[in-house]
Symmetry: C2
């Protein structure tokens, strides 16, 4: 699998940076579709049992069409598709395909992890197939040999990965803040591991970034600044903006002085913008589009203004 | 979803202990099917593109039939099904259904993890559906709020979960051995978190164990002994026996003095026993059956002999 372009050495990270440059803002819209929150037109009538997934697919297709001129990337949250079983998984890959066709970089938020051979099967499943995303998220609790198979597929297929370093949820600290003897915290230790893995042969693209990136939540900007130093070659995938409470200024901490090095994700605040008082006067499609535009310009301005 | 029996308060962990008691050994056969390693009869001819998954399903069905009189549980490794896309995911749930029909406890090895709302979608997908396994594995890097949704579904549906504490792979230590200021290691810190979560209301079964268990690799028996003290109410799911190098004596460290408290998994050493010189004189079915019997008696003897 893997197209000709990738085999010729094109790096995921260079494609990502080029599309960010083209669209003018380092942002990503997260597709976390929940049937109960879809616009009314998708929830009409007495739906037969398979209708929710159909509605979710139609909605996501429409969102992809709406946001593709505005943002460089989308992030598909696998859980919200997996909840519909095998058909939901098919929808996940169909959405990945549709988003790539729309010129978007597609990040598969799967957070897979396991021992080496099994991680290899996950990497084959989620990075190597014909409809596989451009990059996936990976949980690094297994250490280097659980991450390596994803790196190998990424190298071979011109794909990428983002290893969880610092997550954006309220109780993230109960594990990730575990402090070492030298005062370093676990997430800093994992960051150093990710930096070392990402410096491997053939992994750094023309722009100086590695195809091995890191997930660094925007809800902890002080930490993002430290992590920026530990991981100079990592693109940060930054969740937490909007519904999770982080501001554009918080997110800016994840970027380098030149405005490069991160991509900020917003899911619910864009996807369900029509339910937000700020956008309630608009048709749902216009609300999503405007929220995506506001998100993109908010982040672009904060990054420029650092 | 969730059957009447579960709603009446039956605990996953009590069902598990009852089936272990019935079968006479605390073991689990891991279904990690890799097409290239299947017996020759499944790999004949010029297979059309969808044949590997069909072969994997037929093989797993046969293995379930063979091992169900011998062992109390099977563990389905999701990665080896996901690699076949949506159809593979359907096969995963079909196999879970078949294994439960055969009287086996089914553990879904999915290692899912995410922030709270998303973890809730994963829990719904993997613990609450009609063909969902009896328990799943969960990665705890997100801390308590990433684990809680799995716990809630487990409580409501009479299901269980096993949180990764100490994994069995060679580089596990690069993250999990991260040492805290007081000398405690990360995996001990995670163990204490799991113990605290597992003591929650309604989670402890009649046998004194929680439906929140822990994954504790057999490749580190000294650590298993310490973890046994930190987590008195957790059933340990113990990978690492056989192909990964741990002996029955290593595994015994995960059990309490009364022989309860753990279930040992073997995947490749049973599944591909026909490729082992020890069983090469047998038909593949007999080889798998004998390997399962040897595994079960090896573990039972080691646990008794402590």
């Amino acid at each position: 699998m893997g197209n000709e372009e990738n085999r010729l050495g094109d790096h995921f990270v260079d494609r990502l940076l080029a599309v960010i440059d083209d669209k003018g803002s380092p942002v990503c819209v997260g597709l976390d579709p929940v049937y109960e929150r879809l616009p009314g037109e998708y929830r009409r009538g007495n739906a037969p049992e398979d209708e929710p997934l159909r509605a979710v697919e139609d909605f996501c297709d429409e969102v992809i069409r709406i946001v593709s001129p505005v943002v460089p990337a989308v992030k598909l949250q696998s859980a919200y598709f997996e909840r519909y079983g095998a058909d939901g998984v098919q929808a996940y890959f169909d959405m990945a395909h549709a988003a790539r066709d729309a010129g978007l970089i597609v990040i598969g938020d799967v957070k897979r992890n396991d021992i080496g051979p099994t991680a290899g099967a996950y990497a084959a499943a989620h990075l190597a197939g014909p409809d596989a995303p451009d990059a996936v998220t990976v949980n690094g609790y297994f250490g280097a040999d659980g991450i390596a198979p994803f790196v190998e597929v990424a190298r071979r297929e011109g794909k990428g990965l983002f290893v969880l370093v610092r997550t954006s949820n309220p109780s993230a600290g109960t594990v990730q803040d575990f402090a070492g003897a030298d005062g370093r915290k676990l997430y800093e230790h994992v960051a150093a591991l990710v930096a070392a893995i990402g410096d491997g042969e053939g992994l750094i693209g023309r722009g100086g970034y590695s195809c091995v990136g890191a997930v660094v939540g925007a809800t902890y900007p002080e930490e993002a600044r430290r992590l920026r130093e530990i991981m100079p070659h990592q693109v940060f995938l930054v969740p937490g903006y909007g519904a999770q409470g982080a501001t554009a200024a918080d997110c800016a901490a994840a970027f380098k002085g030149d405005g490069s090095g991160a991509i900020v994700n917003a899911s619910r605040s864009v996807l369900y913008a029509f339910a937000d008082r700020k956008y309630a006067h608009l048709d749902w499609r216009k609300a999503v589009e405007q929220a995506a535009r506001d998100f993109a310009s908010d982040i672009a301005a904060a990054v420029r203004g650092r």
